[in-house]
Amino acid sequence: MMFRRRRERDLDEEIQTHLRLAEQDRIRHGESPQDAAQSARIEFGNVTRVKESARDVWGWRWLDRLVQDIRFAFRNFARNRVSAAIIVFTLAVGIGANTAVFSILDAVLLRQPPYRDPHRLVSIVDLQKKIGGRAVFFDLYNDYENWKQNSRMFEGFAASTWAGDFGRTLSGNGPARRVPALPVTVEYFSVLGVPALLGRTFQPSDRQQACTLVLSHEFWRSLNGGQKNLIGKLLRLDDRDCTVLGVMPPTFAVYPSVPSVVWTLMPAPPRPDQFGVFVIGRMKPGVSAAQAQRELVMLHYQLHRHDRWGELMEPRLYELQSEFTWLTGHNLRLSLIVLFGAVSIVLLICCANVSNLLLSQSLARRREMAIRASLGSGRVRLLRQLLTESLLLSATAMALGAALAWAAVGYFRIANPVELPPATVVKVDGRILAFTVFLSALTTLVFGLAPAWKTSRIDLNTALKASGRSSSQDTGGQRLGSFLIVAEVALTLVLLTGAGLLIRSVSQFGAAPLGFQPDGLLTAHIELPKAAYATPEQKARFCDNLLQHLLATHEIREAALSTALPIYGTGPVSALVVEGRPEPRPDAVIDTGTQTVTPDYFRVMRLQLTKGRLFDERDRAGSEPVAIVNEALVAKYFPHEDPLGRHIRQFDGPETRRTWLRIVGVVTNEKRTPVTNEMSWADTPGMYLPWLQNPQSSAALLFRARGAGLPAMSLFQQAAGDPDVTFSDIDRMTHTVAKLLAYPRFRAVVLAAFAVLALVLAIVGLYGVLSRLVARRSREIGIRMALGAQQSSVLMTIGQQGVLLTGIGIALGLLSVWALTRLLVALLYGVGATDPTNLALVTLLLLAAAAFATFLPARRATQVDPMIALRDE
């Protein structure tokens, strides 16, 4: 800078010297001093021009011009404060929302899980052939053994299970508590290809040991803050001493994603043909999923040539990551894709709106550009000025948008509104940030530079005369603007429709009668130590005691035990055999649930008895085995018959023969969530068995309390009278139902937010285009009014324009809705994708908003004073 100033001074002085010397020369040649000074100056020419071009040589000019351009740009923004703010804000929202949503989408759907060569990992799940769709059944343990021994396409297989309750009681380490313990096979960690952080994972020789454990990082930390010397020590699980082999790294996670978990070795089951496992396979390099699938299917039919499983099921391969995603949320993938589609639409609308604003500015600035061009600004110079302005706008928007994306992703990580698949780390994705920034920069550049491009094409004279109004070039801009508005309205209609459908689905889903009364119903999980309560009599006696003690307390009004938690509880687990009818074929669809309950269950749940009787003291060990069935079972198996007194039993295949149960009662249905679709309620055919005939050691405790609050854990411990019995997960049923709704609601809220954003943007856009129209035609309107046109007819003219644009937009939108909302079907409940009420409401909302946006400029048109409009030339 110092150097530059000195140069500047030198140049000044050099020029002064030149003028002085020339002047003296002239005086020497006989000119008068005044003449000499003047002619020296004339001969020298434009001092400023000379200085500028000399300065150019040293290359400071670009910096000068840049500073000048930026200063001018800021002056220009200050003058058009509102539109500059709208442009920056619009782009920032577009960039921010898009980046945030895509970052989540990327983390969940696109990024591979942190296992070795994850593309070679597949999950193997059985498909019930008669039903089709997505395979949801565990494979059998003997399938796993069969594949392990005979497959040539796979490097290895690993099995795990999370069926039923996979908790174990940890004692000797503070008070006894339940900890999640996942049984896995020896190869589990080696197939996933993740080594232990401390110690080691399982190896074949561990099968000889009584009990060995691998700990998750979080579980290890929860034990006395994580000690290295824990490796090789013993932990007491379910009254057995287990050796700690190793600790996994903190990033390691698999489904089910419980952060604090221990892995135990799965013992070989007594009946491998009835024990279900989740199998993960690692394909050999170069093997395609289709080849692998063919081989497994072939091996499956070899093994099950003569049994029911072969008739019923067929294995299916899924990419491990997508399987985990599906297990986490059946609609997670679709939801993310829908949200990303929505946010992309928002980005498009943002860009369209910004284009529109810049376009209208460019029309307004045509005169300014023409003046500057006529004063000698070169085209390059004008272009650079506009370029600076555009880049400034998009740079500001980028900074804001990036901040917004970071905030949104940060919120998502902290608030955890949606359960994500294991080992998913959400962070702002640089690539999509770059892409959205590029898109917005492109928009501002293309439409920001329009005035310079126009200036180079138009005759300066015309532009100056036209005073930036009503020249023929205007119609081009107006047409483009109108096109953008039509597109915005159409896209907004699509978003509003989608949001409307999701919101109505959530509210219908939440308001659907559940068949039981969740208000005031409380639940807890209870677990008896298996050794101390080995016999059915011991279990039965304990449960009887527990319920009596609980009901004797002041706090508990009603209580019952059940093997299934309402809602999540028992889906179909078997087919059904009715006495006197032919045995079902081996491939009979698995459709019936079974649940064991204490007699008060139906009263606690508020289920209605429609026929027969409930369980009572008659139904105990040794008495006639009985069952109560629900109306769904009656509708399916006894549509025109009296079910009372009929005998039924579960069908697990021809080789197993369970005892016949006599139906003594029929109760109303309780709603359940089916495994395959989280956004629906099912009336699963179900039978209830009396507790005393089938006592269990693990149960859901259902109760209603007198007070409003949740009762303390100690109350249960006292009632149980045994410190080794564990109680956990005390919760309200309403909360459990709400949790089920939380994710669809979050999805609906986010989509609704995008839709509202789109609506606001479209309205702002429409307002802008119509305002420009009014401004452009104010002279014409003035003339017409001077010639006696009524205000109402002027209002009509502008109104027509607004209605036309909105109308075309809505028509196009309705067409797109017809095509697009079908994709949403899986996310809907109680409302069709092309629900006419929803479409009507959305169209009305859009029309009302558009009317508002049209009315303001139209009214301004009626207030045009003919005198002023005509004088204003």
């Binding site: 050099e14 020029i15 002085r20 010397l21 003296q24 021009r49 000379v50 000399a54 040589v57 040293w58």
Partner: protein, 116 residues
């Protein structure tokens, strides 16, 4: 104004300036006067070209400058030819002579007898 005022060919001004400075250090006004005098008023260097050219030559290291007193005892910025400048002048002169010879040859050449 001289009626026979000639426009300088692109790049020629640099060569003229360097040539002028071969006779000794000179200031901007002096350079323009020298060129004018030596061309019998046919070449009048515009200040708008002269000063940018001087600064360009200085930036390229062909001339350097210092503030000195003139004969009339005024402070002025004198430009002096550097070793690199001398080399450049030789190169430009050679190129110039080739160009002149080539143009002259073309101008003198009689019309070809027949076009191929």
């Amino acid at each position: 104004m001289t009626p026979k005022k000639l426009d300088l060919l692109q790049g020629t001004l640099d060569m003229l300036i360097l040539r002028t400075l071969q006779w000794g250090a000179q200031h901007g006004y002096g350079i323009s006067q020298t060129i004018r005098a030596h061309s019998a008023d046919a070449l009048q260097v515009e200040t708008g070209s002269l000063y940018p050219a001087l600064h360009r030559l200085e930036k390229q290291g062909w001339v350097n400058s210092e503030w000195k007193q003139t004969e009339s005892n005024q402070r002025a910025k004198y430009y002096r030819l550097t070793a690199a400048g001398r080399k450049q002048l030789a190169a430009e002169r050679a190129r110039w002579e080739q160009l002149v010879a080539a143009i002259a040859a073309v101008m003198r050449e009689p019309r070809p007898e027949a076009w191929p």
